[in-house]
């Protein structure tokens, strides 16, 4: 035994020393992951995949695109910063990430990221409906003055790039209008086609394929080659809107070795000059441009300042809590509130358990749970800004105001009930064991990954349910996992949770 161990150790040592002696720089030695912060199919996903495709002309390296959607990119950026700065993780970023970072107070991300390369600039523009009366820049201005603040502009979410661009346009043109946010740019464009508003803010590419849409003005110094008939803002005497664009680029974690960075810089330049790459994007009026780390970082910091300014202005960044109740709903006071609520809930529980209504314990506690949840949510809702006609607190409160009376009525009914209830059936003990097992299973997946954990879980789970044919258990567990491996991963490409420990080894 000792001998084998010694040999093993020796081999490991040799391997390790080999790596050291072979100090010559060689990158990459394994596939490079490009993290995309949306699901497959979005524009940034297409960007990343197109990049991988074009880059394969210039390097032997393989690129793997990994989608990590959630929280407008925060989840994906977190992932980037958790991984080592070894250059094997690239992050496909857009200007929207900056808006998200600013609105969620995550400035640390900006400092933790090496803004390696901006690859394209997609100019912002105003899109109008050809068949509506108001469809040129002059019309828009005249109409806005008549409607006096009630002109409707459509676009994606509040606080995003398009909204901020609209705010700037209004400032520069000296008009006032209303921003009606939709779930996506596409839905807003549909509303424009339905003549529900007069203008939409987006990018030139979005008018392609639809003859009814036209661009009223574009943010660019000169007219775009792809859209020679489209006027720029400065043609109308508006000078501060020449440089509003959505950028897309690739970033690394800060601290990546300079040699690796150099390797990337060369690759970015090559891809940037590639005719296929240029043609693919330029058709949509996108400026294919390469800006290295230094310039890109400046742009990012500038964007950050802009977003901070405008997000404050429209109240997305929470300023000080304005009233007394709101102070209870933020920070440490909120934790206190929750602890107090749990205590009250427990006290009521104990109280009911000692009262003659003991048999109804669970039936009574459920409505009380709903009522307390509603009250907590109600208190928190005071901390939302309320500078709009229907602010973010209106609808949650509406549901709360329906939920509470319904539960009080139900509670009243239960307490009034005279007739005996059927004794609760079932075997709750085994459920608690099962829940315990599931929690262990979850932890195990976190560390050891899906397959090992599932195998063990299946065996223990089946055993807990008092099934005792051991051979069948083994065969079925193994067979099921093999089946799910083939169907889910080989046929349907479903991602599986990889354990932390497994990840460290491989």
């Amino acid at each position: 035994m000792k001998k084998t161990f010694a040999i093993l150790l020796l081999t490991l040592l040799i391997f390790a020393s080999c790596k050291k002696s072979n100090d010559k720089f060689s990158f990459p030695e394994k596939p490079i992951t490009i993290i995309v912060y949306t699901g497959p199919g979005g524009l940034i996903d297409v960007t990343a995949r197109k990049f991988a495709d074009v880059a394969s002309k210039y390097t032997e390296a393989t690129f793997v695109v990994e989608n990590k959607p959630g929280s407008g990119g925060i989840v994906a950026m977190k992932r980037l910063l958790q991984l080592p700065a070894d250059g094997y993780t690239l992050f496909a970023s857009t200007k929207s990430n900056i808006s998200k970072i600013v609105s969620s107070g995550g400035e640390a991300y900006i400092e933790g990221i090496d803004w390696a390369a901006m690859m394209m600039a997609d100019p912002e523009c105003i899109i109008t409906h050809k068949k509506q009366k108001v469809n040129t820049w002059e019309d828009l201005i005249a109409d806005a003055k008549i409607k006096d603040g009630n002109q409707l502009w459509l676009g994606p979410a509040n606080g995003g790039l398009d909204h901020v661009t609209a705010l700037k346009i209004w400032d520069e043109a000296g008009i006032e209008a209303k921003w009606i946010p939709f779930k996506s740019g596409g839905k807003a464009r549909a509303a424009l086609l339905g003549e529900q508003g007069v203008a939409y803010v987006g990018n030139p590419r979005e008018v392609l394929g639809n003859d009814d849409l036209q661009i009223a003005a574009v943010s660019s110094l000169d007219r775009l080659a792809q859209f020679p008939d489209v006027p720029t803002f400065n043609e109308f005497g508006i000078n501060n809107l020449d440089n509003e664009f959505m950028w897309r680029g690739f970033v690394l974690k800060k601290g990546t070795l300079p040699e690796i960075k150099k390797w990337y810089d060369e690759l970015f330049v090559k891809v940037n000059n590639d005719p296929e790459w240029r043609e693919y994007w330029e058709r949509g009026g996108i400026d294919v441009v390469y800006k290295g780390s230094e310039e890109f970082t400046k742009i990012v910091h500038n964007d950050k300042e802009q977003f901070t300014h405008y997000l404050h202005k429209i109240g997305i960044i929470n300023t000080e809590a304005t009233n007394l109740i709101a102070r209870f709903a933020t920070g440490k006071a909120l934790n206190f509130l929750i602890i107090i609520s749990v205590l009250i809930f427990l006290i009521i529980g104990i109280f009911v358990n000692r009262s003659p209504k003991r048999k109804y314990l669970s039936r009574i506690m459920l409505p009380i749970f709903f009522i307390m949840l509603s009250i907590i949510f109600f208190i928190i809702s005071f901390s939302f800004p309320s500078n709009e006609k229907v602010g973010p607190s209106v609808i949650p409160r509406l549901w709360i105001f329906i939920l509470i009376p319904l539960n009080i009525y139900l509670l009243f009914n239960i307490l009034r009930q005279k007739k005996e209830i059927v004794q609760e059936r079932g075997n709750t003990k085994i459920i608690f064991r099962f829940i315990g097992l599931l929690i262990l299973y979850l932890l195990s997946i976190f560390y050891f990954g899906y397959f090992i954990s599932s195998f063990v879980f299946l065996l223990v789970g089946i055993y807990l349910l008092e099934y005792r044919k051991y051979l069948t258990m083994l065969l079925i567990s193994a067979g099921w996992l093999l089946f799910s491996y083939l169907i889910f991963y080989k046929l349907l490409y479903v991602p599986r949770p990889v354990g932390k420990l497994i990840e460290m080894i491989f």
Binding site: G39, P40, G41, L43, V46, R49, K50, K68, P69, G70, S71, V75, N158, I180, P181, F182, K183, S184, G186, K187, R189, A191, G194, Q196, G197, L208, N210, D211, G315, N318, S362, R363, L366, I380, F384, K389, P392, I395, P396, W399, L406, T428, I431, F434, L438, I439, L442, I445, F457, L458, I462, L465, E466, Y467, T472, S484, L492, V494, P495, P497
Partner: protein, 500 residues
């Protein structure tokens, strides 16, 4: 006439061995993805999109829409056999499909769901082919006020769902609506009820909640009640629907298909709402409303026809305007884009082969689905024969991949388990869980459109726009009627008891 020649051309693109092979492959993948709790049609499509980037655009689209169609049906398999709807829109199928299995008639539920799905899919496609341009013009005119009214109308189906437990059903729906407000507010962009956690910025995802509330809570319930006996299924003795059974359902299927297509057209509405609403209408217009919830074939047919036909509807805005009508079609846009195709009216002129090839493949995919489904149903029935002590732990393992796959997040797995335990507690005390799902699905539509409408006008806008007014009045009637009827009904019963 022009359309016929175009369609003939479309078929000529598709009737080769390669496209047909892709359709068959897509249908098989779709059925499997749909049947797996957690993989919704849009996710099934999204997961495969990256692998279609290297195919020709026509083949890529054929594969993806075949998956999309089949996944809408696949969800009903697990809904019927183990009460674990594989997709959100199959929730409604489980209302009557699972009781059929409990009555030892899984074949009836599976048969009706398959046939209604394919007929629904067919009708949806025909409407898409014939009227897409006109319908798209109506769809874009649909004002936020009307979306809000539609959502409220959808919510009133809770009154039907709840039956005598309508208070508990409403509490469940309101709970769903309330937890739906967790996350970044879609209108103002501020974060609400997130308790400072990044995981809650997007709120709870629908899929983990769905798996937890249905699949897991069902397993907990069965374990709790020690229901481990599996039914002996003898294939020869399994009862399948007869042609006469199908014939009796013709009206329900056709009506639900048309409803499903129409609701599918409005960007954002989609299959789940379509199935809830057409189930509701089927129950109201049925001669045997009391059977609903206890294994009514009409109920299964209404739900499945509606959710499958909504595929055709969702493709209308995508193809005619370049705007996605559903999560799945949003993914299809990416697939078109990578092939340098811009969806929109110009696609009809510039690449007719793609459009009409797509239409033809939709029709063929439905036929393939019917054939494969008929073979498959013989297999699915066997699921009910797997020993429960083995089946239950297996459901957990699948649920975990399903909830993980949504956002690749461990938080979602934990949320799924949490919803499972909570759902089990609720069901133990007779709170229906389906209204929670309805609340989560409709909450966002109701809220954003309500606020959008008020921003665009003022509070009176809901009553000054005729369509919105009509929908709201309908909602009020359909909300009040079942509750009133229940009251009258139980009074009658009460007096009957007294007179005895």
């Amino acid at each position: 006439m022009e359309i016929l020649t175009n369609m003939a051309q479309g078929f000529s693109f598709v009737l080769g061995w390669q496209p047909i092979l892709f359709i068959v492959l897509g249908v098989i993948m779709g059925i499997l993805a749909g049947a797996m709790p957690g993989l919704s049609p849009s996710m099934g499509v999204a997961l495969l999109v990256p692998f279609t980037y290297s195919m020709s655009p026509t083949l890529a689209l054929i594969l993806l829409v075949s998956i999309y169609i089949a996944a809408n049906y696949g969800g009903s398999i697990t809904a019927v056999t183990i009460n674990a709807p594989g997709t959100p829109s199959a929730v409604v199928t489980s209302f009557d499909g699972y009781p059929l299995t409990k009555q030892n008639k899984p074949g009836m539920g599976l048969g009706v769901s398959l046939v209604s799905s394919t007929i629904g899919g067919f009708i949806g496609t025909i409407i898409l082919i014939l009227f897409s341009v006109q319908l798209a013009k109506v769809a874009v005119k649909f004002h936020p006020a009307e979306y809000f009214a539609l959502a409220i109308f959808g919510l009133t189906t809770v009154a039907t769902l709840g039956g005598r437990n309508w208070i508990k059903a409403f509490i469940a729906a309101m709970f769903g609506l309330l937890i739906n407000t967790i996350g970044i507010d879609p209108i103002s962009g501020v974060s609400r009820f997130t308790f400072g956690s990044v995981h809650l910025y997007d709120g709870f995802s629908l899929i983990p909640a769905l798996i937890g509330l249905f699949a897991l809570s069902e397993v907990f319930k069965q374990i709790d009640e020690q229901n481990f006996k599996s039914k002996k299924v003898e294939l020869e003795k399994t009862q399948w629907p007869t042609l006469l059974d199908y014939w009796k359902l013709k009206l329900t299927i056709v009506r639900s298909s048309i409803m499903g297509t129409l609701i599918g057209i409005f960007p954002g509405a989609g299959a789940t709402i379509a199935s809830f609403i057409s189930y509701d209408i089927a129950k109201r217009t049925s001669k045997e409303p009391e059977k609903f919830g206890h294994g009514s074939l009409e109920g299964v047919a209404a739900a499945e026809a509606a959710n499958s036909s909504s595929v055709g509807g969702a493709l209308v805005p995508l193809l005619t305007l370049g705007i996605p009508g559903s999560a799945s079609t949003a993914v299809l846009i990416g697939a078109l884009m990578i092939h340098d195709l811009t969806p929109g009216p110009q696609l009809f002129n510039n690449n007719p082969e793609i459009i009409y090839g797509l239409f033809a493949s939709l029709l063929i995919a439905n036929i393939v689905l019917l054939v494969l489904g008929l073979f498959g149903s013989r297999l699915w029935v066997k699921v009910t024969a797997v020993p429960k002590k083995i089946l239950y732990p297996m459901i957990f393992t699948v649920s975990i991949i399903g909830s993980f796959a949504v956002r690749y997040s461990f938080f979602d797995i934990a949320a799924c388990l949490g919803f499972g335990v909570f759902g089990w507690i609720l069901r133990r005390y007779n709170y229906p869980v389906a209204p929670i799902v309805l609340g989560i699905v409709l909450g966002n539509i109701a809220e954003t459109n309500f606020r959008r409408a008020v921003m665009m006008g003022d509070y009176t806008i809901f009553f000054t726009r005729p369509v919105s007014l009509i929908l709201l009045v309908l909602a009020l009637v359909s909300f009040a009627w079942p509750i009133l009827r229940n009251k009258i009904y139980s009074k009658k019963e009460f007096s009957k008891l007294k007179s005895r």
